[in-house]
Symmetry: C2
C-alpha cells in the first residue's frame, strides 16, 4: 500500500426532498450566490422553482447563469467569472450533473485568481475556490465531492482537467427522485462513467491493496446489479439511490487511497468526446474493452481477479489468461446490454482522425500508470475499438 | 435506503513516518496543546520523542497528561479539563488508541462547557469540541475519525457514550509501523472491535441497502484475510496497513449510511468490560455469536447472505437456516482462531452478575434496533455466551 492523504469534507445530504434544504445550507457561506445550471430540464421538472423557493426562504439572493452544455466550455466559464466579479458574489450553487458542477468549479477558482483561469487546466496548482454547493441531478461524474473539474477549450477543442483538494464542494444535496426523469441513454452512460472511475483506480501496479480492491469490487457489483433495474424501472427509488451513492463513492478518492490510479482510458476518451461531442460515458464504454485487451498481459492475475470477483467468472487456474479475457468480454457485453454503442463503428466514428487524437492525447507525455502508453499505443487502442 | 447526512472532514495522513508531520498539522490549530497519552509504551518505542521533536520544530508547546487506561475513566477526564483551563489550551493531541482518543474527546467537549462533562454521556447534545489531532497507535476503536467517545464513570462503573459530528478529530496520523509492537492479544481484540463496528451496521432492518451491504462485506473480508497474517508476522507492513485503514472506514459512518445500525451487542458488552475490566474487543468476541444465535430467526435471509458473502458458505437454498447457522459458527471459530476466549467460561466469568448487568444494560430502555432486547433478552444472551 502506498502512503496517502485522504481528506474529503464534502457534506452529503442524501434522500427524498433534500433539495428543500439547499437555501439553509448555502446561507452558511453567503447571502448572494451564483446559481449555475444547464438547459431547461430543471425548469420543466419544477426543481428550479423549489430551489428558488428554498434560497428565498433562507434569504439568499441568486444571480443566474444557465446554459452549461455537456463537455462544458471555457467561454461560459469566463462569462461566469465576470458575472461573479461584477456582482461581488462569494459562493456558487450548481444545480445539475458533472458538466454544471465542473463549470461551477472553474468559475469558483477563476474568480479569486488574477490570471487566466485556463492556467489551472494547463497545470497550475489551485489554491482557492469560492465555496460551492451542489444539487445533483445526474449521478455520473462524481464531481459533487471530487476535487476535479474537466473543461473544454473551444480554441482547438482541448479537454483538460484541474484537480485540488480545495475544489471539493462544501456540500452536495442528493435526492435520487431527481434522477427518475433521466433518459435511458443518460442513465446508461452515467453508469459507465461511475464504473470507469472505479476501473481507473482498480488497475494499478501498487501491491498489497486488498482492502481498496474489495471496496472497488463492491462498488462495481452494486452498479452491475442496479443499473439494469433502473433502466427497466426508471422510478425505482432504491436502484436509483444505490447508483447515486455509488457515483459519489466511486470518485471521492476513497477507492484510490494507497494506490496509483491509471487514467489512460479517460485520456484516450477525452479526445473522442472533445472532437465528436459524444457523452463522456459513451466514449468510455467504447474505449474500456479496447484498453483492457491492449494491456491485460501486463498483469494477468489482476485481470483474473477482476473477472472472478466482479463478474463471477469461475477462475480457470490452468489458464488464467482465459479467465482474464472472459472478464474483459463480460465488461464489454455488460456495457452493450445497457443499450449503448461499445465500438467506434457502432457509434458511427471512423478511423479518419486517429492520428490527430493519438497525438493530442499524448502531447503532454505518455498516458497511464498501469501501462505507459505513447502515441502509437493510443492509436492501436483506437483501432481495437473500431 | 434511509435518508442520511454524511459528513466526515477528518484529514487522514497515512503511511510510513507520518508522525513526523504531527507538529506541522497541529500548528494550524494552536501553538499550545494538551498532549494526552496512556502508559509508557510510547516512551519505550521512541514515538514520544519523535512527537515532541515534531511539535517543537513546529513551535508548538505541549502540556502533558498521560496515564489513560483501557476503559478510560471520568476522573482523568476531569483532570484534563482543569489542566486545559488552567493553561488556556486550545487544541489537543491524542497519541494512542481508542481509550486515549475517547478521553481526549471528553476533555475537548468538557473545556468549553460550563456544566459537568458527564452530562454529555447522559444524553446532552454536544455542540463544540476543542480541535483534536490524533496519532493512532492501535487500530481498533475507529475513534480517530468517528464522532463518538466512550467513558467509564467509576462512580457505579457506568460506561456510556457521547456522539456528535463535531467530535470528529480534525486530523489523524496513521503509520502502520507503529502497530508492529502490539502484543498478539491486542491485535486480536482490536480486529474483533473493528469487525464489530461493521457487524453492528450490517444487521439492520433497512431494506435495499445493497451498496453498503457490499462495502461492509468488503471490510469484513479484508479483516478475515489480514488479521491472521498480522498475528503470524507482526512486522508485515501490508497486513498492518490493511487492518489500520479498515479500522477507520469501519467506524467513520460511511458503512452506516442509509441504514439504522443495531448496537445491542456493544451495549451488552459494555456492562461486561465495565465490571470485569476485560478489553472491549475481548468482550465483543464473546457476545457476538450469542447475540447472533438469539436473533437470527428475525431475518434468516440476511444471516444467510452474511454466511455466503462474508464466510464463503455455499448457500443451502433448501434450508437457509442451516446456512445462517453455519455463518454464525464461522464467526465464532474465526474469533477463536485469533487465540482469544469466545465464551464467558473461557474468560473465567461466571453467571453471578448476569441480573445486575442485564438491568444496567437496559436501564435506559431496550437495546438494539434489529431486534429490540429487554432485560430478559439480555440475560438470555449472557447465558448463551457461557
Amino acid at each position: 500500500m502506498l502512503d496517502f492523504v485522504f481528506h474529503n469534507a464534502t457534506k452529503i445530504i442524501f434522500g427524498k426532498g433534500t433539495e428543500d434544504r439547499t437555501g439553509r445550507e448555502l446561507s452558511k457561506y453567503s447571502k448572494k450566490v451564483l446559481l449555475h445550471y444547464g438547459g431547461g430540464s430543471i425548469k420543466r421538472t419544477g426543481l428550479y422553482d423549489r430551489i428558488i423557493k428554498s434560497l428565498s426562504e433562507a434569504g439568499v439572493e441568486a444571480i443566474e447563469l444557465g446554459g452549461v452544455k455537456p463537455n462544458p466550455r471555457l467561454s461560459l466559464v469566463r462569462e461566469g467569472i465576470d458575472l461573479c466579479r461584477k456582482h461581488k458574489i462569494e459562493a456558487i450553487l450548481a444545480v445539475g450533473g458533472g458538466s454544471v458542477i465542473d463549470s461551477a468549479k472553474a468559475i469558483g477558482i477563476g474568480v479569486p485568481y488574477e490570471g487566466d483561469v485556463w492556467d489551472f487546466y494547463k497545470g497550475r496548482q489551485v489554491e482557492k475556490m469560492l465555496p460551492l454547493g451542489v444539487v445533483l441531478t445526474i449521478p455520473a461524474a462524481g464531481s459533487e465531492s471530487s476535487g476535479g473539474s474537466v473543461i473544454t477549450n473551444e480554441d482547438g477543442l482541448y479537454k483538460r482537467a484541474a484537480n485540488s483538494v480545495c475544489m471539493r464542494p462544501v456540500f452536495a444535496v442528493m435526492n435520487p427522485e431527481l434522477t427518475f426523469t433521466l433518459p435511458a441513454y443518460q442513465t446508461a452512460v452515467g453508469a459507465v462513467d461511475i464504473m470507469s472511475h472505479v476501473l481507473e483506480r482498480y488497475f494499478t501496479n501498487a501491491k498489497e491493496v486488498d482492502f481498496t480492491d474489495r471496496l472497488c469490487e463492491a462498488t462495481l457489483r452494486t452498479m452491475i446489479v442496479n443499473t439494469p433495474i433502473a433502466l427497466k424501472e426508471p422510478e425505482n427509488y432504491d436502484a436509483r439511490a444505490e447508483i447515486m451513492w455509488a457515483s459519489t463513492i466511486a470518485h471521492n478518492d476513497l477507492l484510490g487511497t494507497g494506490r496509483l490510479a491509471d487514467w489512460a482510458t479517460h485520456g484516450i476518451e477525452h479526445e473522442l468526446s472533445a472532437i465528436y461531442d459524444i457523452a463522456h460515458g459513451g466514449g468510455l464504454a467504447i474505449i474500456w474493452s479496447a484498453w483492457m485487451k491492449y494491456v491485460y498481459k501486463h498483469d494477468v492475475k489482476r485481470f483474473a481477479q477482476f473477472a472472478s470477483r466482479v463478474w463471477n467468472v469461475e477462475p480457470d487456474f490452468r489458464n488464467l489468461e482465459r479467465t482474464a479475457l472472459e472478464g474483459i468480454e463480460k465488461t464489454k457485453s455488460f456495457f452493450s446490454s445497457l443499450g449503448i454503442p461499445v465500438t467506434l463503428t457502432e457509434a458511427g466514428i471512423s478511423s479518419d482522425r486517429f492520428e490527430e487524437m493519438a497525438s493530442k492525447a499524448t502531447e503532454r507525455g505518455p498516458l497511464g500508470n498501469f501501462v505507459k502508453l505513447n502515441r502509437e499505443d493510443v492509436r492501436e487502442i483506437y483501432k481495437l475499438a473500431l
